[in-house]
Symmetry: C2
Subunit: 96 residues, 2 copies
């Protein structure tokens, strides 16, 4: 546990800035489902996110089927949410 | 249901040709987990599969976290497994 967890207030501020995202029921991750016109668009989005994620050294857990992408962000080294999740989610939103 | 389901014998033949894959418990899909050295390799593999999938107009259901990719192949229009799953899985194996 080398990375600081967000406080509850920081968490609320983060979610306030990320309208499409919601807190996972255990409070340790944020989630969003994205829908695109087709697979090419969905995977194009995933490719962009992959580059951002690698650059930030912080990677999503994600599921894809055809035009749908379900994404979960959490910080294992913090045992929950950290600033890294907020930063990656904001960068992902900026793609859209 | 416009696509023919594989018979049990065709299914066994397919799995015989795909050593790393297993039948999902309901018999309607095949699954394989892939592990790579890191995220860049895992996503590089996913990018290759994405191109094959789009070319074959048959797409996986898949989950990725860091260096791991869990893949499921099924044919919704067949209500289970079809030749499309065998063809895509064989093309994926040829990438490795």
């Amino acid at each position: 546990m080398t990375i600081a967890q967000l406080t509850q207030q920081e968490c609320e501020t983060m979610l306030g800035n990320l309208p499409g995202w919601s807190l996972r029921s255990d409070g340790k991750a944020i989630e969003r489902t994205f829908e695109f016109a087709d697979f090419v668009r969905a995977f194009g989005f995933m490719s962009s996110v992959a580059i951002l994620a690698e650059k930030q050294d912080h990677h999503p857990e994600w599921f894809n089927v055809y035009n749908k992408v379900e994404m979960t962000l959490t910080t294992h080294d913090a045992g929950g949410l950290s600033q890294r999740d907020a930063t990656l989610a904001e960068a992902i939103e900026a793609l859209l």
